[in-house]
Structures are given as C-alpha cells and as structure tokens.
Assembly symmetry: C2
Homo-oligomer: 136 residues x 2
C-alpha cells in the first residue's frame, strides 16, 4: 500500500451562502444525498462526493487562524468532461441558463481539447471540457 492512499473521497467547498449554493447546484439538476442539514450538503459525482460546508466552519477545521480567502479565484478548477464538443456547448449553455457565470466561452485549447469555464455563485470555477481520447 502507498504511504498515502492514492484516492479522493470528498471535495468540500467552503461556502459563504449555503442556501444560495444549494439552490444553484439544484438548478443544474443535481440530486443531493439524503442526510443534508442547513450546514451540510453532498452530491455524488462519480466515485467522489462534492460537499458544501460553511466556509467559517471548514476554516476552523482545516485552517485555524488563517483568514478566509478573499479572492473570486481560488486557484482550483473542477472539470466535468463530456463526450463531444457539441456537448460542451450545450452544457455550458444549460449551466449559464441555470445561473452560472460564464468565464470563458468554449474555445479550442492549445492542449488539444475544447472547453469553457463557468463559475458558481461564490466563484468556484468549473470547466466543461471535451478532451480527445478521453473516454467519458
């Protein structure tokens, strides 16, 4: 076994406005797992769960004494890969119609793919991507 299991179980987004965030992902058609509370929501996203948890509470656990991030851009992107370029366009359009903020419209990327970036209400970037040769 590795020193540290090469695995990812949860991605937790420290969230300023739980009600708004929950409504946002709900508007994407995402089904929340049972057991949520006002302070916790989780969504199955493949083998991983995406969780929403208040930023101040997450910071108490994960970054005691550190100020909360104050930038709209946290340096982390989350990507949803789709099987075609056309689906990139369709999903970006659907996401923005559901309240996502468009960051960069889908374009050909120099690394060979085609993708667009959108942001959730708190600035978390999501890339909707088609990557040649990736079976999704």
């Amino acid at each position: 076994m590795n020193a540290v299991p090469q695995n990812l179980s949860f991605v937790t987004l420290g969230t300023r406005d739980m009600r708004r965030a929950r409504a946002f992902y709900g508007s994407w058609g995402w089904a929340e797992r049972d057991g949520g509370t006002d302070e916790f929501a989780q969504f199955d996203v493949g083998s991983v769960r995406l969780a929403l948890y208040p930023l101040d509470l997450l910071g108490e656990e994960a970054a005691p004494g550190c100020p909360p991030p104050d930038s709209d851009w946290n340096g982390v992107t989350l990507a949803i890969n789709v099987p075609s370029q056309q689906l990139v366009d369709e999903v970006v359009n659907a996401a923005t119609a559901s309240g996502a903020r468009i960051i960069t419209g889908p374009i050909d990327r120099e690394w060979g793919g085609y993708s667009g970036y959108i942001a959730d209400p708190e600035g978390q970037r999501w890339e909707i991507a088609w990557l040649p040769g990736l079976d999704v």
Copy 2:
C-alpha cells in the same frame, strides 16, 4: 439527462512550483499517469484525476484578469477516507513523514468522524478521515 452532468472528471490544482509539487505527491507513493510534461502532471484518484498545472497558466484559462489567490488557505478541502481510526493516524503520520505539513492532528469531530488535516507545500488542505458508516 441533467442540464449539467452530475459528475466530476478532474480536480486541477493551480501550482506555483511544479517540480516541488510533483516530488511531494511522488513521496506519498503516488504514481503519475504517463504523458506528463514539465507543465502538467496527473494522478488517478478513483474515478477522478488530480492534475497539477501552473497557477499562472490555469489562471489565464479559468480566471483571466483575476489576481492569483494569495492566501495559504483556498477554502477547498480534499479528503481521503480510510476504513478505520487507526488508519487515519497511520496515514497522517506517513504523509507528514513524507513532507506534508500538519494542520490539525487527528481528533474526534463533532460530526461523528475522526480526522486530521495536512497541507501540501502550497497550502492545499487534505483531510485524512474516518467516517462511521462510510464504506471505503
């Protein structure tokens, strides 16, 4: 189909020092996928890939015109769940022996689990967690 597929394909960490980050995750025993370059590394973590990509290049795509985040704490946690409390201790110890910075040693959490937080060289938080009733 949902407006937006409820899935996660990639988590990409905008990285200031690719060489250091690659060495760090390598020291955890993580195997990098083939096809990496000086500017791109990826690791299979379950059904998701964790990618390392230079922060400035990622920002050009995902946050044009936004300053890079300047905090040690980005508001996002990544978790590796393990099957027992003892394994939480063992993995946290192994991770810190491999260069991770300890943030909070494993403790009982009020939500019922047991976990510790560590940080990679650029401050990305990883939670090593045991969660009762979660089959991992």
